[in-house]
Symmetry: C2
Subunit: 365 residues, 2 copies
Amino acid sequence: MRTITVELGERSYPIHIGKDILTARELYGSFIDPASKVMIVTNTTVKKLYLANLREALSGFDVSSCVIPDGESFKNLDTLNDIITELLKNRFDRHCCLVALGGGVVGDITGFAAACYQRGVDFVQVPTTLLAQVDSSVGGKTAVNHELGKNMIGAFHQPRGVIADVGVLKSLPAREFSAGMAEVIKYGLIRDAEFFAWLEDNMDAVMAGDAQALETVIERSCRNKAEVVAADEKESGVRATLNLGHTFGHAIETALHYTHWLHGEAVGLGLIMAADLSARLGYLGENDVERIRALVERAGLKAQLPNRLRGANLREFMAVDKKARAGRLTLILLQAVGRAEISSDFDDKLLQQTLDTFAGRKGAA
Amino acid sequence: MRTITVELGERSYPIHIGKDILTARELYGSFIDPASKVMIVTNTTVKKLYLANLREALSGFDVSSCVIPDGESFKNLDTLNDIITELLKNRFDRHCCLVALGGGVVGDITGFAAACYQRGVDFVQVPTTLLAQVDSSVGGKTAVNHELGKNMIGAFHQPRGVIADVGVLKSLPAREFSAGMAEVIKYGLIRDAEFFAWLEDNMDAVMAGDAQALETVIERSCRNKAEVVAADEKESGVRATLNLGHTFGHAIETALHYTHWLHGEAVGLGLIMAADLSARLGYLGENDVERIRALVERAGLKAQLPNRLRGANLREFMAVDKKARAGRLTLILLQAVGRAEISSDFDDKLLQQTLDTFAGRKGAA
């Protein structure tokens, strides 16, 4: 087992990474006050796989559980209200602890429930997807969706600790594993060229599920994210580099009405598109764009838009997002493999060229 | 106009107190970035009185407004969702500012909307009730209610500033004004004996609506609350003294199913009951209990339970609240006028005597 500490002053917390640690009761004991009531929040799918094991590991605590439906469409205020109802019915006071057992949706909504129940209680993350292990478990972002926008209602709320069990990734569908890898590759690209090179050397072991390789993937990703977050907890500056590939990715997701492609799949192609634009701007060499494209593809991700978006103008879907200030689009671009920069001062024509090239539109350079 | 600064490091903010300052545009200019969109949130009652004036004062800003129904029963997630819908429909980004124009309900829900919209945006309080001016505008507590409990879903989120216009108190029903005075008297009792004596000398002017006297009432109350909050922002210790009278008050409100009496009316009687118990415990003299009872009554508040609670055992309604830890009831008691203490180590029989005396139950001492 490896442990990283996310340094946030009095809200610092550990991330434990290892095989079969989901049931390591001593880890929970180090996070949770023995006098606290514990509520496990999970979904209908993960419940069948791991809830009994986790309850067993938590025996000795006063444990309840709350099972929410599986899917992003349930990450809303109604489900939040259901979780709060369970807490109140079971007379949880403010010295309780929620445990999020599941992927990003479970982590986001459970974290937000913990952030606002009685104005803030403890929570622990037990992420069961690669994406949640490398991404959602660091940063303190919690949220639910609104009908008119994703993650529009939320809070910054740090967990007491994270238990990332690489053993559970066996149960993850291959497509979801690949989607998580998009974020992993992103960390190499924005600030860790050595890790990017390590991924080039070890992608086969990673994709084969080698436990040591997976521990490295998660440790290195979390360490990179933790360093960025520690430097910029509330996302005013450098933290924005974590959005590399995401503005392109969101445009793809929006154009697809959030169907057909997973978020991570869209981000994976977004990384290639960001690299392509960076090359057009003269920052990256063509060979670096090719390295990025090759690594994304080896992770089982797509390097091309789906046919249904052939000819579409993705620019229409990039206009407004949370990160847009005063109307001007801000993008994360690459100065090199391992070095990202935030820019709103780029040539719009070159952006249009990148979009048109991937969409196979006429006039594409 | 008088100004207090609530000292909270980088989240410090001013409270401006004066007559007819609701329309003082330069004050808003000092809180709100000129590039920010502004959303005024108010209710159907206050809208008719002050919305047009406030919009006029904010001309020059890009202003929208959102009118919610009047009443505590609408302080819930559904109304919160409606506010978020308005923000998203009007394309508010995270550099916006909400303005809460109304009493405690509007302030609590608007503050919570600001706390969680895109994980936190600015807000300004323009409280239009005495209770909101002396209480809700300091402390950063925001919340909505859940079907199973009041203020169960919320956040700590500080406003950018508060504009407390004593002129608007003219439009407040006398009962609501008196309810606010319960909190005012509380500040004297818990930590400001000089202010308590000032209230004894000036209650007639206060009740007659004298502007100078009202400014003193609000300034002194906010200053006391601000000092307590600055010392204990997240309510772990001394901040609990602000709950003097509230545990008794909540028991009364619960026994009345939150009908018939306003919160402040229940707190007013709660102050007398806390004084009565403090006297039974040997802390306060009988003459101090009488001073407290007399001042509460001069503020237009009741010193007796309503007839419908004659004979009731209020102890049943005191068992569980947010402040209860590990089952033991904690009360705020008075060591003297101007000195409160937090105690869970009192003789339960004396508490029962106090409750029985006020309820006129047999066996009362």
